[in-house]
């Protein structure tokens, strides 16, 4: 970075914010998480249709045994992460805040693997269709937080060609370091998984994208790539650098068309965690039953990057790290910029949980205006990575002007939180935008039904 680059950036660059990184656990090696006696495995851990339970109460299950699946295309099966007995299939608190159906398993603490779990002999020689089928059966979803079923992403329509696979190692959320540790400790696995994925979609080019603030990960991935042809791309450290659309723009210089998918610009983005999970699935045959979770924050005694069994309660993970410190604060699943805060510790870790961030009472934001106040400082406009006008989104939503929201492109908002983070009056912009999206789509549906009714009516009249 030359001086002119720095000046250029200071004067003209827009989009993104720089929250304090607080990567407290970045230097802590990945270790095994708790061995819980009871797990709650939600049947919805992905974007798409919920799974139907495949087991019954009282049934014995083994590690890696499929316990839920769905006929729907956009869905991913779930597997038992412990061996033991199904205690119940009922509604439990889900990290999304709603109650959702989950399979409760009482572990026998033996971790007996299910039968038929075997490695794939030559994954890089497999047919794309077979890779997809195996990925689907393995229950693999996007591990960056969105949890979109990976097998769907690996199956682009025939008119779309994917040339570039971007392995997303940009862990731009503060506190989180699970992806970083994965790249440092298991670079080969990440690359192996990326190669399998690129084989499935026919991508010729693999780019591993890592923020410049993670030199250890950059060198580990470079060493692992060796002469393999994979490139390592150094990203500027800005939030939300790891957001799919921002990432594609940085690497290819191209925008993903509004409302379209990365495949429309010939790209596929997969998180390093997803790549490692794919690699593990083909190397051992074990479906996705564990994931790496960063535990950090000033409200928890310990810190670390733990290999946690899916379905383990957040309470058990926090206890494993020494428990809460300084009373009850805020527990966030995911990172502090986009994660979901939980009202209870009795929620399970799911395939999408990349972090458990515990903020102490003192760190919780307390000041927030009772109503929408804006001093028009323009920071939200300057920092919006999607080039939107967040203050307008917020004020239209606050005023209930749903029809106006289309003209300010509300559906292009990715809810990264930069606007609310940077707002000096502390407006809850993301909340207003979420409400606005709901209000806008509800109004749109209503208008459509009204139009339909009117058309039917006029049709009837003309028939009469």
């Amino acid at each position: 970075m030359g001086l002119t680059d720095n000046i250029k950036r200071a004067l003209f660059t827009r989009g993104g914010v720089h929250p304090p990184a607080n990567k407290l656990a970045a230097s802590v090696k990945i270790s095994d998480g708790p061995n819980p006696e009871r797990v709650l495995i939600p049947l919805t851990q992905h974007v798409g249709s919920p799974c139907e339970p495949l087991v019954e109460k009282g049934e014995k299950v083994l590690v890696g045994q499929k316990i839920g699946d769905s006929e729907a295309y956009i869905s991913a099966p779930v597997h038992a992460s412990v061996s033991g007995e199904v205690a119940s299939i009922a509604k439990f608190t889900h990290p999304s805040g709603r109650d959702a159906l989950a399979v409760e398993i009482i572990s026998d603490l033996e971790d007996t693997p299910a039968e038929g779990i075997a490695p794939a002999p030559d994954p890089l020689g497999m047919e794309p269709g077979d890779i997809r089928a195996r990925v689907r059966e393995g229950g693999i979803v996007g591990m960056g937080g969105a949890a979109f079923p990976t097998h769907v992403k690996l199956n682009p329509p025939s008119d779309k060609r994917i040339e570039l696979l971007i392995v997303n190692g940009a862990e731009c959320e503060p506190y989180l370091s699970a992806d970083y540790r994965l790249m440092v400790e298991r670079a080969q696995d990440v690359l192996h998984g990326a190669r399998i994925i690129s084989r499935a979609v026919g991508a010729e080019r693999i780019v591993v994208a890592i923020e410049q603030t993670s030199p250890a990960a950059i060198s580990a991935m470079r060493d692992a790539a060796g002469s393999g042809g994979e490139e390592v791309f150094t990203l500027p450290a800005v939030f939300p650098q790891g957001a799919e659309k921002t990432l594609i723009k940085t690497i290819t210089g191209r925008d993903v068309p509004s409302g379209k998918l990365p495949m429309d610009v010939g790209a596929l983005v997969d998180n390093v965690g997803t790549c490692a999970a794919v690699s593990e699935l083909f190397l051992t045959g074990m479906p996705l039953v564990k994931r790496i979770v960063t535990v950090a924050g000033d409200g928890v005694t310990g810190r670390g990057n733990l290999r946690v069994k899916v379905g383990t309660l957040v309470r058990d993970v926090i206890d494993h790290c020494g428990g809460l410190e300084g009373g009850l604060g805020q527990v966030i699943l995911g990172g502090p910029m986009t994660g979901l805060s939980q009202y209870t510790l009795d929620v399970p870790v799911t395939k999408a949980t990349g972090g458990i961030v515990v903020l102490s009472k003192e760190s919780i934001i307390s000041e927030e205006p009772g109503h929408f106040t804006c001093i028009r400082c323009g920071r939200c406009v300057r920092h919006c990575p999607m080039n939107l006008m967040p203050y307008l989104l917020g004020s239209y939503s606050d005023a209930g002007m749903w029809e106006e929201l289309e003209s300010v492109y509300i559906n292009d908002c990715v809810e990264c939180g930069c606007c609310a983070y940077i707002c000096p009056t502390k407006n809850p912009l993301v909340q207003l935008i979420k409400v606005g999206k709901e209000g806008y789509s509800r109004r749109k549906r209503k208008m459509e039904t009204l139009k339909k009714d009117k058309e039917e009516k006029s049709l009837e009249e003309s028939n009469a």
Binding site: K260, I332, L345, P424
Partner: protein, 364 residues
């Protein structure tokens, strides 16, 4: 009878049980919508920094203007803050004078007034600034025009006699020899901009470069905040360093005035330093509420301010045009904000994609 204590026991158990059980404390966790962390900057903090950035020029202006200058600044702040509190009381709203925005408005007003005004004029100006400039629109963030300039405009029009004559007679500036000021004064007796107006008409011959040093370090002909261009630039440097103002506004505003003045035959450096241009471009035009939200909007706004200032300076009865130029462009800001908007990520790409698809469809 034995049933009763049992019932009571159950009752107490029910009341005491929740805190003892594992469930209860967990339910007391705080929840909120993301993002769960926020930047440290607040409205009050920003206002405080702007006030701090104005301090060097304020202190120097008061030093030069003496007690009367201090009273002018103080009275405009008092007028502004008292009016803000009074109106918020009347409207049964929370009184927000502690956010420092009214203090800043009062200070800015005071800095644009001549140092020898009678005390009641700045007091009135401060009251008008807040009442008609800000609160009548709904308070902070809702006003169209820069409140300090609204206050100044009202008293400028109402008490023009005071406003044009209450300048310092004898300068008191450390870096300027009073002889040099006296030498200039003996030729003109007018403010620099007015003198240059006469120069253009051929009625006077005094070189613009003779004004450089006083304008930079100790200007006796100006308002309290116009005493030193250097100190205003120091304040601007603070604002830019803290990232509180967009560089486009001062740069484009002053740049436009300099270029146009040069074309019209005025010394460009003199055009930049004289009058209220610098304090206007650095502290008035950059007011968050009354300038456009987008980068290009700010450029249009600033260039517009520069054009208007030059027009007023050269072709009106007024010696100076910064105040009305900024107020004029404030009025255009909603329009600029309506038409100058960033194109969101992916919208151009979508249009391109649709155009291509259409072409393909036509071909087929």
């Amino acid at each position: 009878m034995p049933e009763e204590p049992l019932e009571k026991e159950q009752e107490t158990e029910e009341i005491e049980a929740p805190p003892a059980s594992a469930e209860a404390p967990a339910r007391m966790l705080s929840i909120g919508v993301s993002p769960h962390i926020r930047d440290k900057d607040t409205t009050t903090g920003i206002m405080g920094w702007v006030i701090l950035a104005l301090l060097p020029v304020t202190v120097y202006g008061i030093y030069m203007g003496g007690l009367s200058a201090f009273i002018v600044v103080l009275m405009s702040i008092v007028g502004a803050v008292a009016t803000e509190a009074g109106i918020q009381r009347l409207r049964h709203m929370p009184v927000t004078i502690l956010d420092l925005s009214a203090v800043l408005t009062g200070l800015l007003l005071g800095l644009t007034l001549p140092p020898k005004l009678p005390f009641w004029i700045p007091l009135l100006g401060g009251a008008v600034a807040i009442a008609l400039g800000k609160q009548i629109f709904g308070g902070l963030g809702h006003n169209i025009f820069n409140p300090a300039l609204v206050g100044r405009a009202v008293i400028f029009v109402s008490y023009s006699k005071y406003m044009t004559t209450s300048y310092l007679a004898t300068p008191k500036a450390p870096l300027i020899t009073s002889q040099s000021i006296k030498a200039i004064n003996s030729v003109t007796g007018a403010t620099p901009l007015a003198a240059q107006g006469l120069v253009r008409k051929g009625e006077l011959t005094i070189s613009a470069s003779r004004y450089y040093k006083p304008l930079l370090f100790g200007n006796p002909w100006g308002c309290i905040g116009e005493v030193s261009a250097v100190l205003i630039l120091v304040g601007l440097a603070v604002l830019l360093y803290k990232g509180l103002v967009d560089w486009r506004i001062p740069v484009c505003y002053v740049g436009t005035v300099v270029i146009l003045s040069w074309i019209l035959g005025m010394d460009p450096l003199f055009a930049a330093l004289a009058g209220g241009l610098l304090i206007g471009a650095c502290f008035m035009a950059t007011d968050y509420v009354t300038n456009p939200m987008t980068a290009w909007g700010k450029v249009i706004f600033a260039v517009g301010c520069g054009v208007m200032t030059t027009i007023l300076r050269f072709y009106s009865n007024l010696p100076e045009g910064v105040m009305f130029a900024i107020l004029f462009m404030n009025g255009l800001t909603p329009l600029i904000d309506r038409y100058v908007r960033p194109v969101p990520y992916g919208v151009r790409a979508l249009r391109r994609m649709e155009a291509e698809a259409e072409k393909l469809g036509d071909a087929a």
